[in-house]
């Protein structure tokens, strides 16, 4: 079932133009200093970027938009293809699925959004300063949760199918394009690139404690370090909103018994405040600490999935310039 298919970049772009009629396509486009997902029209096709790490928006936003009415569960008319999904974000789908699709209560809107998506994963051929997926056991190339892998090397597109949905997409494309099989050398070049990037990540993050060790360090830390690192936190919640593994939300009522699910974050004041007034997370450093206990201690105790993929987005997003990895290194070295 898993199989490689190749075609020239030119043919690929032509077939994408055809796919636009059948699917809604999102792909990363580069602008300013970063890349992010855009809805792709024909004129955008040449601007799609390949094999670059992490779009600014995490994949979860497709399944859990910032705000969504949860009363309407109608399926969209077209399936959507989401291209350029990095491995870290695919890994983050594990914890999201555990939270939102669990047996007792499956979220029908999350499920609808998830089912309507065809995920095209990508190998990262470069890395960014704060990428540290391998520290937490995630490879810089997709291993699960996707339908198809796509890489561009030397103006050739390499596709590798991972699921029935992936196969169907290939079949859909076969109607207007012709695939080749890659040579062994080509495959080897792809695998060599994977290894090179993995080694680069390991090298860059030397000394950073792994996921389990981080949990131990966080759990047994004193209060002082959290006070110190949270000094510049302004409770903006960006670290959680941008985080592919953060899952929290708030339900809001709309007239007519409509209900809207709004992304929320434990970094906002009042997140745990009860009507009678008690608020366990009132002190800033407790809110700050809560996020790390959630990610590295509580979630792994409760779920089979990890709750930080090492994508580094929270570090980049923090207007208080707080770098969790500096904090962990300090914890590890004292």
């Amino acid at each position: 079932m898993n199989k490689y298919y190749t075609l020239s970049r030119h043919d690929w772009e032509k077939s994408l133009a055809n796919l636009i009629n059948q699917f809604v396509i999102y792909a990363p486009v580069y602008y300013g200093e970063q890349q992010d997902y855009e809805l792709i029209g024909e004129s955008d096709i040449p601007h799609i970027v390949y094999n670059r790490p992490k779009p600014a928006t995490p994949l979860k936003t497709f399944f859990l938009p910032v705000e969504e009415n949860v009363m309407s569960t109608k399926a969209p008319p077209k399936q959507r293809i989401i291209m350029g999904v990095p491995s870290c974000d695919l890994a983050a789908a594990n914890i999201q699925d555990e939270m939102y699709l669990n047996r007792d209560f499956a979220d029908p809107v999350y499920k609808r959004n998830r089912d309507a998506s065809i995920l095209v994963g990508t190998d990262c051929h470069t890395i960014e300063e704060h990428c540290h997926c391998t520290t937490y056991g995630i490879k810089p190339y997709p291993e699960f949760n996707h339908d198809l892998t796509l890489s561009l090397m030397d103006e050739t597109i390499y596709l590798y199918t991972h699921s029935e949905k992936g196969n169907s997409l290939i079949q859909a494309m076969e109607k207007f394009t012709h695939f080749h099989e890659p040579t062994e050398n080509e495959i080897q070049a792809l695998l060599d690139k994977r290894k090179e990037v993995e080694e680069l990540l390991n090298h860059n993050n030397q000394g950073l404690p792994d996921y389990r060790k981080t949990g131990e360090l966080v759990q047994h830390s004193g209060r002082e370090i959290w006070k110190k690192y949270s000094q510049t936190c302004v409770s903006c919640g960006a670290c959680a909103t941008i985080c592919p593994t953060c899952t929290c939300f708030l339900l809001m009522e709309r007239p007519g018994f409509e209900k809207v699910r709004h992304l929320d974050a434990c970094q906002y004041p009042g997140f745990e405040k009860v009507a009678a007034g008690e608020d366990p997370l009132r002190p800033l450093h407790k809110r700050f600490y809560n996020r790390y206990m959630c990610k590295y201690v509580w979630k792994p105790q409760k779920f089979d999935s990890i709750a930080c993929t090492g994508c580094g987005r929270c570090i980049e997003a923090c207007i208080g310039s707080i770098n969790k990895n500096e904090l962990f290194l300090e914890l590890a070295n004292t």
């Binding site: 949860v70 009363m71 569960t73 939270m99 939102y100 669990n102 007792d104 209560f105 499956a106 979220d107 029908p108 899952t247 929290c248 939300f249 708030l250 339900l251 809001m252 009522e253 709309r254 007239p255 007519g256 018994f257 209900k259 699910r261 929320d264 434990c266 997140f271 745990e272 405040k273 009860v274 009507a275 009678a276 008690e278 608020d279 366990p280 407790k286 206990m293 959630c294 201690v297 509580w298 979630k299 105790q301 409760k302």
Partner: protein, 273 residues
């Protein structure tokens, strides 16, 4: 259940509004659809277009055609609820969570300790125990309130006092001349109770500070941690173990609780806040 939207409430008609105290009202609801719950489980009560909040029903789980929800006025939503006169339509979602462990109470002496509006969820338990009284040895109900005016469910207290297996003791922080029972915080009642601790299970519901001192006292008296059950109050939104608001350590209070055995939660952060 497959096609059911977990967020969708069922509609319920407000049959009656009962004023229990200056700050507490009971709403008698008639759900449009079949609705049952286990005592101690909670529901999300929806005021259309305004909001929703979790409440543990105060009626007997054995009564199937209506549910009572007793609400203290504390914030915006409860204020809006208190404006209802009867006849309106509200929404309910649920029931959610783990209720009182009835099977652990059978064949034991049950000590029920309530403070303030904590009597509301406990009334549901007491109704349930009353209906199943042949299965329990006895019930000692200790109730503490701020002042006599805030003592709720007076008629029900009288009813309980007439049942041989039930003993009821009450205290208020500030008495007035009409008050003939104890004075002081809820824990003072524990000095007066007559239970065989080895054969007893305690259930405590009330404001955090009351629960904290009650647990301390129960432990001093010799109750094992595993014989004390608490219903925890946390900020909640979904009630489904998803939104994260009610996290207490790795627990989601809405799903893993709200009723916990003390030993399960004693090491979790800020349980009394």
């Amino acid at each position: 259940m497959n096609n059911h939207n977990i967020y969708k409430p069922i509609k319920a008609k407000v049959l009656e509004v009962i004023e229990e105290s200056p700050t507490i009202k009971t709403f008698v609801l008639k759900p449009e659809n079949h609705f049952t719950f286990h005592t101690g489980q909670f529901v999300e009560l929806v005021v259309d277009g305004v909001g929703e909040a979790p409440f543990t029903p105060s009626s007997s789980p054995l009564v199937k055609d209506r549910i009572d929800i007793t609400v203290m006025r504390t914030g915006y939503l409860t204020q809006r609820l208190h404006q209802l006169k009867g006849g309106e339509t509200v929404g309910i979602r649920g029931p959610y969570g783990r209720g009182y462990p009835l099977e652990k109470l059978y064949d034991r002496e049950v000590l029920v300790l309530g403070g303030g509006c904590g009597f509301a969820p406990l009334r549901s338990l007491l109704y349930n125990l009353q209906a199943e009284q042949e299965r329990i040895k006895k019930v000692t109900f200790c109730y503490g309130s701020k002042n006599p005016r805030e003592c709720i469910y007076e008629p029900y207290i009288e009813e309980l006092r007439s049942i041989p297996k039930f003993e009821v003791m009450r205290t208020v922080d500030e008495a007035d001349e009409s008050w003939t029972e104890e004075v002081g915080v809820a824990t003072v009642l524990l000095d007066k109770i007559d239970v065989h601790i080895d054969d007893s299970v305690a259930v405590v519901v009330g404001p955090p500070i009351m629960m904290k001192f009650s647990v301390q006292k129960l432990l001093e008296m010799g109750y094992p941690e595993t014989s004390i059950y608490l219903s925890m109050e946390k900020n909640m939104s979904c009630g489904l173990g998803k939104c994260g608001h009610c996290m207490m350590g790795e627990y989601f209070v809405c799903k893993d609780g709200p009723v916990f055995r003390y030993d399960e939660i004693k090491d979790k952060p800020d349980i009394w806040k």
